[in-house]
Amino acid sequence: MISLIPLVVLIPLGSAALALALPGRRRAQQLITVVALVCVVALSGAFMWIVDQQGALVMQVGGWAAPFGISLVVDRLSALMLTVSAVVLLGVLLFSLGQGLADGDDETPVSIYYPTYLVLGAGVCNAFIAGDLFNLYVGFEILLVASYVLITLGGTGPRIRAGVTYVVVSLVSSILFLVSIGLVYAATGTVNIAQLTLRIAELPGNVQLLLNLALLIAFGIKAAIFPLAFWLPDSYPTAPAPVTAVFAGLLTKVGVYAIIRAQTQLFPHSSVDQLLLVIAALTLIVGILGAVSQLDIKRLLSFTLISHIGYLIFGIGMATSAGYAATIFYVAHHIIVQTTLFLAVGLIERQGGTTSLTSLGGMLRAAPVVAVLFFIPMLNLGGIPPFSGFIGKLGLFTAAAELGTPGAYWLMGVGALVSLLTLYALARAWSLAFWRTRAAALGGANAPVPNTPEGLMLQGREVALIERLHDAPDAMPLQKQRETPRLMVAATAGMVAVSLLLTVFAGPLYSYSTRAGEQLADSGLFVSEVLDNPNEVSSGSGKNEIDGYDPRASKAESAIAQAGEVS
């Protein structure tokens, strides 16, 4: 089983190459992509099962022992992230198959969508199984380069404009990550995460803090936490609906995953955890206030995405096993639900021709299925019981109550408020798009007012809902309304079903998350799983190094000392 670990990266990459080699044959490309992702879903599901039974799977690539070779690690957290990501990738792929077939994309000369999509999947999987920082960086780069291509797909004006912002911001974060790796290597002489756990603990406190903050900023840009999230609502909404959906579900979560790994494995008792709680509160509030003031549903959802990253950071910042468990459950829930909502918006855009709340209306009658497909994940994201969003938030609040610090109680209040505001923002979008009549949407205030008292009351409310948004930026100009292919609806319905499954099987999943959380809270466990003889490699004493060769032990220290003298 261990030798199957690299397959979650190799299958998508190999299939991408194969799909690229068959440029004209759309059918073959689609078949390859679907088969590859089904394989990844099956593999990661199997990993999740095995890892839960037997503990982490560790592969030392090329047979080189841990500190020298590259380690690929699948523990409970990685396995869950892999499974959820693979399911989301497959669901969104089916959606885009439906959309692509209807849009006649056979006319484009070069078909790069499917290969790029597979490369994106490979990058995401590589980041999740990386056992060392540099491999994590490579995973990030693979998924980022694929995402650059996907976000500028078609090369239209708005996409290029949004893509430039996205690419430049991502480049800066990549450079920061690389600089952080350089600093970590200079300080410790290794990039293997398990060995770093041991060596970082030996560093002076201020060096630890510097490394921690450097990594946090690099990951924070990707995870879209508060002061570093400005790029997200600007760039995501312009991409095609399936691309936005998969970005919203996965890319920010890869950043969150990296933050989890850094805070649990590299800096287990860091004072940055307190800072994370503050960041969580600010992310929650600023994100949701952005969402409340949006007229375009896609932008609205982008802001709720940022806001709910705050919940994840909240769980990490508590630094207890219950907090980690809640975060892990919430990540799984949020990936699925946020993706589903973006897919539902894709359906709205298709059916209504726009995502602007000023122009949408009467869709409850025109598209009742879409109304339901948007309604269920909306309640779920807003945290209405019995959905998984409620369970995740309950887990977070319970962990906060167990922690019992004033900061944790404050965050509970903020979390509850944000949950209500999420529901408010989404429910307003739903009632404007689906509930009000088409005539009211088209005619604005001049629409004929229904004569019944209920009609008058509703009319007044709709006007009030829109009025508060008169300054908000509106969506792109109207597009042609088109038929919605069955596959698109089916894929969205499938994702809604998956989100409901998370609710139905919340018990087993939450106990799985609890075990994963306990695993994370004990940073020594990961070390003993990855390194054969952790005691020998711990301090770089040179005993176990090849032929007594240990370039790091003395060089790194004197290099730092020298650097200090020079400056």
Binding site: V164, G182, Y185
Partner: protein
């Protein structure tokens, strides 16, 4: 064993970072790309400097292990160079496309229509402010307004 980091390399790294960050902040995309290249190379130098003192080529059997350079940073740099190369090629394509679309003979970052709407919404509320009033205002920053006006004219 005495080890040292050459001051020249350190100074070059600092200069590359400084110029690179300055260029990254420019509005012209070509300069942003140049800035990215400089910052990328500065990062490579940083990683190179982490390997400590220079030694023999790290090939097994060619030299005593203790005399060798640390090979790992070199592998990092090699990977980083390849990634930078690929991303630069993509950036060039993006810049060309952006320039073709803008058709203004410039490759500057295009303004966000939504941002401009917000700017318009704000100016509505400050209509009664006259030019004389603005000039006598101590906090008033001239460079900001010219930027805004240019941007708005470009989109008018």
């Amino acid at each position: 064993m005495t080890l040292s980091i050459p001051l020249v390399l350190l100074a070059v790294m600092v200069a590359l970072f400084a110029i690179g960050v300055y260029l990254l902040l420019d509005r012209s995309l070509t300069r942003v790309l140049l800035g990215f290249l400089l910052v990328g190379n500065a990062t490579n130098l940083l990683i190179f400097l982490t390997s400590g003192a220079f030694g023999e080529a790290p090939i097994y059997g060619e030299a005593e292990p203790l005399d060798m350079s640390d090979p790992l940073p070199q592998a990092f740099i090699l990977t980083a160079i390849v990634i930078t190369f690929g991303v630069s090629a993509f950036m060039l394509a993006l810049i060309y496309r952006s320039w073709r679309l803008a058709r203004e003979g410039e490759d500057a970052v295009v303004d966000d229509a939504h941002d401009l709407e917000l700017v318009d919404a704000e100016t509505l509320t400050t209509d009664e402010v006259t030019d004389e009033g603005l000039e006598s205002e101590p906090e008033f920053d001239e460079s900001n307004t010219t930027d805004t006006f240019e941007a708005r004219e470009g989109h008018a």
